[in-house]
Subunit: 310 residues, 2 copies
């Protein structure tokens, strides 16, 4: 199998490309749950859902989250009765959270719920959460402690980030199958997600980093930073908060020492030498994915960089 | 105050008429919760909601339940992931159930949740559930034991009803204020709801029947049976199952001995003498309410029959 570590929006496009250029059943995707939240009494897993929707062909491309052409009638009615609505759940999206919450309440694990949802929506790749135990990314900011969604959605990334913690990570166990999949993987792909808040929580689950350090599989990451800026989201601000350079070099250092290869955009080709000094091989490719063809192209580059056949 | 005992669809129209011809704040509505159900993990109160939506001007007139012009996108998505969808919750309607469930989970009572929802939607009449304790109407049928909604919605009233029980009623207490409101009421109105499954559960809550028997307020019911048939729903089948005549006389007997006056349709005028022998005065009026004017007209008849000024 090819193990992919994935956040949400950024990862979704690359994973969709991978599922197009290789057999989807070969993909074992470990998704971030550090953004998970309880909203309206429901268990919402934003990153798992973005990946699921992308692979199911349901992702809203314009927003980068939620279900395409979704409506927000329930949300409008929630506003009317006085509920908070800054976290926007669409009507079709809501079914996923209701279903997940019911599965969890019936005693299922998040791994089981995630698999059931993906399967029901026709996803053939295997998607698992990093852990069945709760891990919550919290940011100490100039506006106080914020959950990732509060920072990202409600505060629109405005406050400065002073500290990032993965609450609960020390006590969390990797989801069933994750460590084994890494250990026996053909390749490990780190998607072009935010290294601090999308991949960081995954690496914070005890056992996962160790497995990555030990696996003989080559590890290839795709830089979410292009030309000194995050392709989407607050990755720049968060790399900086962690004392990492907002560049492919900074990304590679977040994955030290187990990263073998970094795929980065041509705009950043000048960083190749610095990466090499850090022991990371670089591959230059078009890292933006405006359409399905670009997703497939980048996916092929990644597989090739990992020495894996398509 | 005018106390009204109410089911759902049937009651909603008369209550809307009453709220139009008199000061809504004068109305103290005791709603049936025998149909309440947990659906998708949410607490749904079909009858309370029909009344709330009607009084808020939101009721879907064609269906007689739910929110006007609602969509069913969440429901379609729930079907897609394999959930049961025979009980149809619209997207806007869903917000009511989410909100109620959250209020209850936060420790609020159903009385508080019902009041909060009604107030948020601009309802000025006071609406309370018959009880904060769970009472569930269950039907023993030729198709086994069914909840009211299973019988009515899922089975479309097809099985024969052999027995009706109000599970939990013996241990239920009337909601706060109900007994006092009946004791000090100017008039008691029994809406044109199903006597067995809409009003029956209310009367089964210990203390309510006693208060009705003792209050000096005149009690006026509106017959939901017109010309030997229920205006809507399975009232006919259920009256028969209870050994009651499917007629205004059967309705009046369900409210013996505390009912003073029955408002019935002109089609049933011949029953006046039989009702009088039963000690129930009858008033003949147009009992169908095809529009708002008819609702207001019937509401005026009811107030007059109760000796209450509009």
């Amino acid at each position: 199998v090819i193990v992919a570590l994935a956040g949400g929006t950024g990862a979704a496009k690359l994973l969709r490309g991978l599922a197009r250029v290789t057999e989807p059943a070969r993909l074992f995707i470990v998704g971030n749950t550090g953004d998970d939240l309880h909203w309206w009494g429901l268990h919402v897993s934003p990153d798992l859902d973005s990946v699921t929707y992308a692979l199911a062909g349901l992702l809203d491309e314009k927003r980068g989250w939620g279900v395409r052409d979704d409506t927000f009638h329930c949300l409008e009615a929630m506003r009317r009765v006085g509920r908070e609505t800054w976290f926007r759940l669409g009507d079709r999206d809501l079914a996923t959270h209701l279903h997940r919450t019911l599965l969890l309440r019936a005693g299922g694990s998040l791994t089981e719920a995630t698999g059931a949802i993906a399967q029901a929506l026709g996803v053939r790749a295997r998607l698992v959460p990093m852990s069945d135990d709760p891990v919550r990314t919290e940011l100490r900011t100039t506006g106080g402690w914020l959950s990732l969604e509060e920072f990202f959605v409600r505060e629109r990334c405005a406050p400065d980030v002073l500290e990032v913690v993965y609450r609960g990570a020390e006590a969390a166990r990797p989801a069933p199958g994750v460590v084994d999949a890494i250990r026996t993987a053909e390749a490990v792909v780190v998607c072009c997600s935010n290294p601090v808040t999308s991949i960081g929580p995954i690496l914070a689950v005890p056992g996962i980093l160790e497995a990555l350090a030990r696996t003989p599989a080559p590890a290839v990451a795709v830089s979410p930073i292009v030309g000194g800026q995050a392709v989407s989201g607050p990755a720049g601000k968060l790399l900086a908060a962690r004392g990492l350079d907002v560049s492919p070099l900074g990304v590679a250092r977040a994955y030290r020492p187990w990263l073998d290869t970094l795929v980065m955009d041509g705009l950043d080709a000048a960083q190749a030498a610095a990466l090499e000094r850090d022991g990371v091989r670089s591959v230059v490719a078009d890292a933006l994915m405006p359409d399905g063809a670009a997703e497939a192209r980048l996916a092929r580059v990644v597989l090739e960089a990992a020495g894996a056949t398509a």
